[in-house]
């Protein structure tokens, strides 16, 4: 136990660990999206998903293809785009709040079937 811990702390972090984290983050995001009631929480969950992808890009670039910068750039762009998305989404959520005085996603059910 302590060996493992030592290894992890002292040696280089294996790529699997990063990928594990990103995968967990991704599905945590998915879970959050599916289960949270507040739209803001849902938005945060989406950020988690996007960031998971970003971690992947960065890690892959760093570990597997160290000569290039594609992954890093992709991550940078994704962050920017995520920011845009969030901005727009927040704006829309505010608009929803104005209309419904609530940001609960369950209330978005006027249109169905």
């Amino acid at each position: 136990m302590s060996d493992l811990l030592t290894n992890l702390l002292s040696g280089p972090v294996p790529i699997e660990a990063y990928l594990g984290v990103s995968l967990i983050m991704f599905f945590a995001g998915v879970y959050g999206f599916l289960s949270r009631k507040s739209m803001l929480m849902i938005l945060i969950s989406i950020e988690l998903m996007l960031n998971a992808a970003d971690i992947n890009f960065v890690v892959f670039n760093r570990y597997l293809f160290p000569g290039h910068l594609e992954g890093f750039y992709f991550a940078l762009f994704t962050i920017a785009i995520a920011a845009c998305e969030t901005a727009v989404a927040i704006a829309i959520i505010i608009n929803i709040y104005r209309n419904l005085t609530s940001v609960e996603v369950g209330n978005l059910d006027q249109m169905k079937e």
């Binding site: 970003d54 845009c84 727009v88 829309i92 608009n95 929803i96 209309n99 419904l100």
Partner: protein
Amino acid sequence: MDYSSFLQMREEFSLLAVMVFLLVYDIFAGEKGLKYFQPVALVLLTVHTVLNCMPRDAFEVAGGMYQYVPMQTYVKSILNIGTIIVLLQAHKFLNEDANRIKRGEFYFLTLSTLLGMYFMISSGNFLMFFIGLETASIPMATLVAFDKYNRKSAEAGAKYILSAVFASSISVFGMSLIYGSTGTLYFTDLATLITGTPLQIMAFVFFSVGLFFKISLVPFHLWTPDVYEGSQTNITSYLSVISKGAAVFVLFTLLIKVFGNLVTQWQPILYGLAVVSITVANVFAIRQQNLKRFLAFSSISQAGYILLAIISGSAMGMASLVYYVLVYMFSNLAAFGVLSVIENRTGKVQMSDYNGLYQTNPRLSFVMMLALFSLAGIPPFAGFFSKFFVFSAAAAQGYYVLVFIALLNTILSLYYYLLVIKAMFLNKSENPIENIKSDFPVRISLVVCTLGILLVGLFSTIYNQIAVLSFGM
């Protein structure tokens, strides 16, 4: 680095110029000048379309980030024309007092999404693709939620942005896996590096659902009816035609260019999706009373038909797809055009409201009927030809059963299209929609659509032109 090669991205720059000009115009023109905002914008767009309608030789810019093939010109032109038609139809809506102030934004947002699609279409790299995709979809969310004070519109906006971001998250995750397994994001390199390992297959599926979402295939379609219903009709039509048209084209090119080695995987996927999309959408559609929802389901099933062209994976399929998009654009925009005229004037969108429409508005009903027949694939309207070619492309590759299923579904689709026609022509109404005198731009748009529906099929030149290029794909 020689930046002059950037100028080869003519379409994008030209569109950007228009956008910037309009933005500046909107900000700095006085009350008087703004009167002419829409005409100016439309003229500029038309000029832009005309200038960029001739295909050029294939080229690459930015080390392959941007790849051009001649076919893209046609697709972009189709999108241009579609956008112009939508804007013409939105003319009335944008001239209402409440919206007048937002005109500039409307144009800017719409054209932004168009620009995003341009990049998406011409991308040669996943980064470029992703940026294009998001540029196309984020402003779209604002457009959907354009009508701030309308609860439905807000709801639709929220649904759209949440679903879209969810989809693009998954898609990006897929891209990251592709990157991880190959080390590159360039399409040309990927074509050989993708060999069909399980990780790549999974990555492919994750990535492609993002596009499936855009095309709104079952089961990634659930947002579609709600968003279509909630948003302003002109935006709905933009969403259903332009955004979808760009996405199917991109899907085709990507599947061929990038995932060519996975053909044994993606063909059955598309097969299944086509069957499910067409059938489920049709079954849902027959019960719809709200015409916008109705057309939403109709567009889902149309997307399923387009998949037949993609499955064939052939040059013929490519040509058929572009042709299908063209025809679909005319037909669907005609239908939505009529819808928007009536909705903008009376606010009525229920099918029962359309009872006896022919008595009071023969022309509108006539256009609507042509559009629906064309959508249903009835000759001599263009829809018949496009459907036939799509089926033909699939049949040429031996997908007879798929064609058969699709054809059986055309019966179902004919049924619900006829329901609308029945409402307009057969049903009597105590309280029909009064005679509507539509304004000039809408008329132009409807005439263009009608001519498109009537002539695009009968004159084979258009298809032949497309087909000539499709061999270069």
